[in-house]
Symmetry: D2
Subunit: 254 residues, 4 copies
């Protein structure tokens, strides 16, 4: 039976501010990327999200971001690789504290916001992220974009890498995401999204924005939980996978 | 050979702001209480302090505080036991991340600022602290005031407790610190401080402000690193202990 | 024609986190209490809220809170009167900056969260708040609970005070709010709330929880914009006032 | 009698963290650039610094920075012109609150850290800064680098601009600062610094790193208060000016 992971950002509420429909969405996914307090999330939200993931059999990942609560970690800040490594060790450690407290393991780490793209563009940043993870625990997986060079970096440090697929985003011939400001960059049609996911899981390919069919090996599909219609979309993605006998499975069990 | 631990608060610098003489003081102590970013400290300072402790054979402790950088964790905030537990899990986890990265173990936890006193006054807070520590790792020691009830709470959770002695502070007949605003509360005379430490280590007693000699079993002496004259005081305390054949030893090796 | 002000907390969104239905509610009120960045609000939200108030002819007030974004300014912190004064000068000044930029005047100041109650209990805090306001501009009004002593403090500094009425909260015989944890403390029935407001405006009285009819002179009714049903409640309160020929008027025009 | 202003960054302490020798340096300067809480400074420090400036007859300026306390406003963050404008309105307003409370006027605004350079490189940012100042009060001066284009922007908005001279930094043929990482960029010799200041004030010229003598019209000299030797340097600069009958005068009185 084929398997795929569904990952979703969670635990980004802060204090009095509630964000997303975590309680509903968590029932349909298999891995949660949990905010660690820098771009979103706070200690109470982290505890609740980890417990909720445990109760739903969902794998827990740390989702470290830049120290910019106001900008939600979505704007670039000049940080050195050493600073980025420190931010990751701090945030991964904090979330691991809640995992230890809950008696579960920390499954993975996914970089938040501008940091995923930064790791693609500046390999010193990818190295910093991999160092942070591997120094804490080499069994923690790194969930990131599909990319050859970053994979090499991680594997050279003995780290497992999982690639994620953005089913609602067009890819170009370099297998990179088409920037949001270009026509056709974002796919809204549910049937199209379902089709792209099935193609990825069953055939290991993606059809690019210019019509090429390229190999793409991804273990996880990134879904969303904080936009209007998000819950319905996740439900439909899950139904479609189940209807095609594909098991939705946490990263650590793939 | 008799042994005692010397503990000191460290790693409370923040960003551009340097606090204390950590680099000098660390050569004379055996355990460091490291700020975890809420009242002081930041991820970079935490990494450097943990590495410095490792290089000097000094035991590393987490020093969690209230989320009040402006007030340095020294003013009371109304928090619930659950909130306090979450603050501790987060901060202990974050510092443990740096310990894991450095390949050393996290030796102890000491509550910062108003929180130590709070745990004495409100046993639900002591329970919250003990829960946070024991859920993460029962082998992490709790370093706190000499107190019967808090000891019982910790031991009932299978947690090791270490008591610390304030050599420069007067104690009353209840073995509690005389409040700073009372005459004689703070002891400045080095010879007197040295004498009180030797009495504690050799005889297991303290002479109270009203002249009683009471039993007091403490494994650690709290010293300071951020006041004028602090470094010289620590050096003299260390010299005095060594001159009396008392080994200065991290908590975990007592 | 009788007049009354309707005031509502606004501008408490922060970064990516949206709070309340400010855009809708502002069309029904006459004064807005705008978050100033300590408990909620940020510079961008402040600008937008001030502009929105200007466009709707709504009086702008500063709504300073404790420096506790995580706790939304709702939990007690030990601060001195001088510290509170400084927090108010800073936040009032910041909001006044946006009023100056928009070419409107800052109409009033209302203390947020635990601070209103604190000013009632500890008159040194009321003095600190009044000092902050009067040092910046004696023409800025202080909007607060109905209270004799605080009024005296403000008036002794040459400051105008406006009292607000909580139509959905029961009052006791001391004209204080019945604590939320007591039965009957919160009134949910719209007709009852409308009746209480009309009684206040037309007769200058409130019926206490134990049935007494007491004099109460309030110039403003506090309404809410961040709970389910809030918008509908505000609309009904406004309709009821208009149906009884009571003009909804900003504090500065009363 | 010739006049020149001496400006110095001040009020960058935060909470428990003391920065610089403000109490000493303020006796030798004529204008203070006061931190506003984003990169440094807090409401208490702001009040004390404004009062200290008032007592010493020193002009008060706002010194707004990026919202990055950890990075001290010294690292680039991607912000839009609108965001920068909002950050400036907020911080200028907050400091103006303390000036109003002290009964003095806010003399000037100087952008902190990376922001001064940013305004030179990206004129939309210079416009945003000028908009923020002029919307609050057109009589507040903008203190910035010597630059033709930024001057035009400010003057087109009816804003007064004052240029500052870095006596301890080499200039290139474009009248720009030689980057710190180039040889000769920083001048340490006191006599040389004194000579450059006298040349600027008396002749209105600077000698560039490659030996050209260029016109440069600056009304203020930037001095430092937070480095070893800073106080002595400021004293010597002041003595040298006084010995040459040059009056040290706040910007607003030039």
């Amino acid at each position: 039976m084929k398997k795929v992971d569904l990952n979703c950002d969670m635990g980004e509420s802060f204090g009095h501010h509630k964000l997303g429909m975590d309680e509903e969405v968590i029932r349909y996914i298999s891995s949660a990327n949990v905010g660690c307090g820098f771009h979103g999330g706070d200690p109470h939200v982290m505890r609740k999200t980890v417990m909720m993931a445990k109760e739903n059999g969902v794998g827990v990942g740390a989702h470290p971001g830049l120290p910019d609560l106001l900008g939600f970690g979505r704007r670039h800040m000049d940080v050195t690789p050493q600073e980025l490594e420190d931010f990751f060790v701090y945030q991964i450690g904090a979330l691991k504290g809640f995992c230890d407290a809950a008696g579960i393991r920390l499954q993975h780490v996914k970089a938040h916001g501008v940091l995923s793209g930064l790791a693609e563009k500046d390999l010193r940043m990818a190295e910093a992220i991999c160092r942070a993870i591997s120094m804490i625990d080499k069994d923690i997986l790194w969930l990131t974009y599909f990319g050859t060079k970053t994979r090499e970096i991680a594997e050279s440090m003995g780290l497992g890498v999982m690639a994620e697929f953005y089913a609602d985003r067009a890819y170009n011939a370099e297998r990179l995401l088409v920037p949001r400001n270009q026509a056709g960059a974002v796919i809204h049609d549910v049937a199209e999204i379902q089709k792209r996911i099935l193609q990825l899981v069953n055939e290991g390919t993606v059809t690019t924005i210019d019509g090429q069919v390229l190999d793409m090996s991804c273990q996880s599909i990134c879904v969303h939980g904080d936009t209007p219609g998000a819950l319905e979309m996740v439900q439909k993605i899950r139904s479609s996978l189940e209807a095609h006998d594909i098991a939705i499975t946490p990263l650590s069990e793939l």
